[in-house]
Subunit: 781 residues, 2 copies
């Protein structure tokens, strides 16, 4: 029950701390030494070279141009300047559409806030219910629905406002869905791999490299087929070929099987590390030719006999090269290493669109086809999960997630009960005298219980990602989408409901089970106005200061300098030390959604909260736009496949806000409003179904008309393209090159020529993001 | 709380009445005069001719062969003799699979009953809880779970049994789903229109007739396209042609647009009636050449000037023929009459399968494609509903159905309150003396209140069908499936729950809303054992006697003889008077499902109910098998498209039974069983999702492999078939012939030749049922 003054103080503190962060950022970012921390995206794109290479020695590290300190907020307009098409080109559609979520927040809440303040706040303010009651109340409560006397006719204002807000939100949502769907279709239709994108050699298609050499633009019409059934007479390779030759005779072009090359991949990465050391020592030697560098052969180079480092690593690399070659041959020869999956390419987009959308076999659990995810987006480990195993995994994860959400406090409480002072003293009596020191004691008592929970919350997104991986999705984007959904549910139950109704999620669940269906919205509804100040503080701390902290990039900054100081040996190491990160859909989006939920729930109840939400969305938009332009290096491109989830969760928040308003009003004896309030969620859900039918197919299916248009266009543009000759030259295996970093699994591919006749067709890889990062590279080397 | 003796008496009464029905049937069916009532299917198939045409006069009406009276139950083995493949051939896959639902009941409940009686009944019986309590109880209750003392360990038996029953049911369900899916795929793959099927001239494809003439077997690879967008420059006809020529260039063959020909249809049917009169008078004249028959021109031929009947009708037919011709030209010329839908045919099954499964346009709400339903299955009125209207209709119907289910008692109570004696006396004072007669008075008081409810329940399936029609489904089978789902929900809430918890559905709803989530299964669960005797009686009256009544066909029998006596003028009229009916999926299936629900719910609680269910399933199986073989004439063939619904509802019943058992056991203080009981529905729902993924696509999608196999097979069999020449001859419009009965709407079609080259292909209409009935004919004439 904080007063306006309290809130003002908290706001001042948070604004100041956010301002301090921004100031620190403004100063740090213009120091040349931090350049790679604050502009990694440009380095990865090869458009910025290290400032360390030229100039006065000091100015290599510190910016001495004092003018630049004056315009320390200049990054803000700069971040806003890049037009959207250029942004899509620069950072990919995913990033551009992700920013639209923040814009969507502004679009929804700005008119709502204006309407609420011009209509609802006066209506609330001109009552004196709270003054006459003997309750303690704050000035904020005077602006909220709590100030309206029970049974008052003024509740009609809130009802009308609820309708207005719902219609406005739905209108904006529909418009946005349409825009994003159009953007996606346009993006998919116009995607062309630019030559510079092939430099990373991370494509699963060796063909990509040849494309690069020829500098020609091609469409690669790829479909991923999984669950190829085992056949006693034919290998997967032959089986896939025969199946598609028979069932897509006019469109099938060729295919490549997926190899399970975990071993090979680890060997290749080992070789790469050795290569890096060799480079380092050679560099060292070239600078100081007097002594050849030496190395100890023992653990971590700390003991053992000393040998010539360059010779040692040259030998090691030779040995590993041999091993890699052997392993390669083993993988290629042994059918054990072939996974029952393949990338099938088609002559035309039309043929690929048909294959991706249709059921191939009588048994719907084999020969599953779908558009191949972008090379960097593929999650290789899940390529070979059979249908039954998949359904069992789903069940296990569903149950596990239920327990995680509602019972996560149990193991944490257990750890907390162990991690008290008596427990530690018992387990390790020798620490007793140390622990008994009053400073240490108070530290343990104060922090230990919280630490277990904090650690859990930090690892929660990782746990959720592991769950998604276990569930068997085959693209990283799908993994992240699922993890985001789970994170949102977790936050909704444990942060939103948990803050409103105090107690653990399990206690809430128990309470709800023992409560009647129409009591639940009431219980939550009546607590809502009381929690407004809490959520305002939450928005300021988590939202405002969080955004400002995000732009400062304190963790990458420290880690970069530490790495740079201790580990970086070669230029390549320095590049890897940059850690640009991504916008992190699986954690970022659920966080934004929490603000949508708060905004929609409080719009009618306590409109005073809305400006705080607006400031968050505006600040976050600028900050994330800056980060996406200068920092983040998105690991994959899903062409905004996440939008249906974003849309769905806002609808969910809208329905929740309507139900809670209904609960609140029914306790206020504005009972004759109930039928009108029930109508709202019904209409909202109907609106959702309408949008789902109207726009969702753009994110799932692939219209044949579009494919055909594109095919015709390309045929007209390059009518005589000879793909077959082209494929013969393209017979190179990327895993054989050994010049990539691969830490998880290696895909090797084999392009088979199928067609004895010359065929006209053009091919181009499917998705379009500027530059794959090192992580994605590791997936597909 | 009926005792075993009471139940025995009720059973005896019901068995006797069922036996009386069967006896009456056995006697009536062998009378030649009833032949058309009890064997209409064979007449419609043309395999049986009227027994009225030969023999001694008396034996034309009464069976004098007394031997046949002795073997009066001979129809039962006869009904069981026809093997399933022959049954499919004779009555269609829908009917054959419909019978499998009854068999499924036997397969599920026979082992369950044996297990329950050998394990659970002894466990229940050997307690004396009820004896020691001072409650009144019956012998049936002694066999039920009520006889187990609270907190007893014996509840573990029930728990284990619940698991066993669930696993058995799921096993059988999975097996059955697999069998039906295979049957469906096989049926669709092997379907060939036999020549005799074209005699009805009811195909929407004029081509069908030519096929008949050529006696060749062809596959017609038809796709229905709807929501063709309006175009200012092109007609629907041209638009469809251009769209498919562009987007399916290699597979598109031709198309026919759909005409809205309501007027034309009514003219044609008028003409047909006149023709029938003419036939009648000509027959009359030919028998008695002395006087030419005359007719009065006024109302119903009762007054007005007398004219020569044959001349009158000849003139009338001539006039109507002119009108029909004019209307035809109007329909064909005016683009207003063309609906934005078309039947598109493809060269190959593969091309059709592709088109039916893919999204055509960028906008997913236009150019909607799906497999064309069977001609007789098409519901023409809904061909032209745009997407927005469709979603609004769905919303309206969802809300309307909610109110229908929960508030249907309100208008009925209102009617009842009006239809009391005082109300009638007030409204019609002149009836007062009549009503005051004590017999009439007691009749009105006794029956009137019930009549409103009864009338509502009789019309409920019709109301639900109207709702489905309004919702915009485009095939009769889909209409019936949706109506069946709604009827099941209605029955579940108002019959099942309504019987257990007395009170109207709205009162239940109100109660449930004000009750906590875990109280609801308890409330229902504890009432379940008490209602066992009620449901046993229900099964006997509604199930046993109902089945026996179904085979007697009292209503069609009476109506046939009435019609035969008063209305039948020509042989054609007599054929139409037969009214074979159908098995009525929209009412029949929900009724069976109620027995599945009762069986599964009571299996653990009161196993004594199971034998009654078993008798019902066995009797119904024999009766309906007989009816399907001899009587029913299915109006359409959906190739068992309803099975996913059947499967889903049994799963629903299973989950309900598990939840109710949980509620019941939690009141019995067998609380430590709750986690084990919660596991059951989770597993069941998971099983459902597994089956849905594994088998449902067979009912929705169209595997390309199958299509390609079929294409190849046909190409090999008839490699040089010239479809183009064939189509040139086929340019006939069935509506122009005027020899069909059309009472709703007329489809005329126009086959366009598209291809200047000769094409190899074979075509055959899609679905396969022996004979369309007159109703279906009316839809597609």
């Amino acid at each position: 029950m904080a007063s306006l003054g309290d809130i003002g103080l908290a706001a001042a503190i948070n604004i100041l701390s956010a301002f301090a962060f921004l100031l620190a950022f403004a100063i740090l970012r213009i120091q040349p030494i931090n350049d790679r921390v604050y502009f990694p995206k440009w380095y990865l794109k090869g458009l910025r070279s290290s400032p360390l290479q030229a100039g006065v020695f000091v100015s290599k590290f510190v910016n001495l141009d004092f003018k630049s300190y004056i315009k320390f907020l200049s990054w803000m307009p700069a971040a806003l300047q890049m037009p959207e098409p250029e942004l899509i080109d620069h950072a990919g559609l995913d990033s551009a559409v992700y920013l639209r979520i923040y814009l969507l927040g502004l679009k929804i809440f700005f008119p709502i806030a204006i309407l609420a303040f011009s209509v609802m706040v006066p209506v609330n303010w001109t009552n004196s219910t709270l003054e006459r009651s003997n309750l303690t109340y704050s000035s904020i409560d005077k602006l909220s629905i709590s100030n309206i006397p029970t049974g008052s006719n003024r509740f009609w204002t809130h009802l009308v406002m609820a309708y207005a807000f719902t219609f406005w939100t739905c209108y904006i949502l529909k418009r946005e869905y349409q825009i994003v769907a159009t953007m996606r279709l346009h993006f998919l239709a116009s995607e062309r791999r630019r030559p510079d994108q092939f430099t990373d050699k991370n494509l699963y298609l060796t063909i990509g490299k040849v494309l690069l050499e020829r500098k020609s633009f091609m469409t690669i019409n790829l479909v991923l087929v999984r669950n190829v059934p085992p056949d006693p007479d034919e290998s997967v390779d032959e089986l896939v070929e025969h199946f598609f030759l028979v069932n897509h005779p006019d469109h099938y072009l060729t295919h490549q099987v997926v190899y399970n090359a975990k071993n090979l991949s680890s060997l290749v990465s080992k070789k790469k590390k050795r290569q890096n050391w060799l480079d380092y020592y050679e560099l060292k030697y070239s600078r100081n030719q007097s002594t050849r560098p030496t190395k100890k052969t023992g653990f971590l180079g700390l003991w053992g006999s000393s040998v010539d480092a360059i010779d040692f690593y040259t030998d090691e690399i030779k040995r590993l090269s041999e091993e890699v070659k052997l392993e390669e041959q083993k993988v290629m020869k042994n059918s054990k290493y072939i996974m029952p999956a393949a990338f099938v390419s088609f002559r035309t987009r039309w043929g690929a669109a048909v294959c991706a959308q249709t059921q191939q076999s009588r048994n719907p659990t084999i020969w599953l086809t779908e558009w191949a995810p972008e090379p960097r987006d593929v999650y290789w480990d899940n390529m070979a999960i059979p249908y039954v195993s998949l359904t069992i995994r789903r069940l296990i994860i569903a149950v596990a997630f239920f327990f995680l959400t509602f019972f996560f406090m149990i193991p944490i409480a257990f750890v907390q009960s162990l991690a008290n002072i008596e427990g530690i003293e018992k387990a390790a009596p020798f620490l007793k005298s140390f622990i008994e020191m009053s400073f240490i004691k108070s530290f343990i008592q104060g922090f230990l219980p919280g630490i277990a929970l904090k650690i859990f919350l930090i690892f929660l997104p990782t746990i959720l990602m592991i769950m998604s991986k276990f569930e068997g999705f085959i693209s990283v984007s799908a993994l992240e989408r699922r993890a985001a959904t789970r994170y949102y549910i977790f936050q909704f139950i444990n942060v939103f409901l948990g803050s409103i109704i105090t107690g653990t999620a399990f206690q809430q669940l128990d309470k709800f089970i023992h409560q009647s269906a129409n009591e639940i919205p009431k219980t939550i509804g009546v607590s809502i106005p009381m929690k407004a100040t809490f959520f305002i503080t939450y928005i300021m701390v988590d939202g405002w200061a969080g955004c400002a902290g995000e732009i400062l990039r304190l963790k990458p900054l420290i880690f970069y300098h530490l790495k740079n100081f201790f580990l970086v040996k070669t230029e390549k190491d320095r590049e890897e030390a940059m850690d640009p990160g991504t916008f992190g859909f699986n954690t970022g989006e659920p966080q934004i959604q929490l603000y949508f939920l708060l905004g929609l729930v409080y719009a009618v109840v306590t409109p005073f909260l809305l400006p705080f939400i607006l400031v968050f969305f505006a600040l976050a938009y600028v900050v994330y736009r800056h980060q996406i332009i200068n920092v983040y290096n998105q690991e994959y491109e899903s062409a905004a496949a996440f939008w249906p989830d974003v849309h769905g969760r806002i609808i969910f928040a809208l329905v929740i806000s309507q139900l809670l308003l209904m609960g609140l009003l029914s306790t206020k004896e504005a009972a004759n409003s109930t039928p009108l309030l029930i109508t709202l969620p019904v209409l909202t859900i109907w609106f959702h179904l309408y949008c789902k039918g109207r726009y969702e197919p753009a994110f799932v299916k692939h219209p044949l008309q579009e494919a055909m248009m594109k095919d015709t266009l390309e045929r007209a543009r390059e009518p005589k393209y000879n793909l077959k000759e082209f494929l013969q030259n393209a017979y190179i295996h990327p895993v054989f090159k050994g010049d990539e970093d691969s830490d998880s699994e290696v895909m090797s591919e084999k392009w088979e020529e199928q067609e004895p006749v010359l065929v006209q067709t053009k091919r181009q890889s499917r998705k379009n993001t500027p530059l794959p990062s090192k992580h994605s590279g590791s997936l597909s080397s």
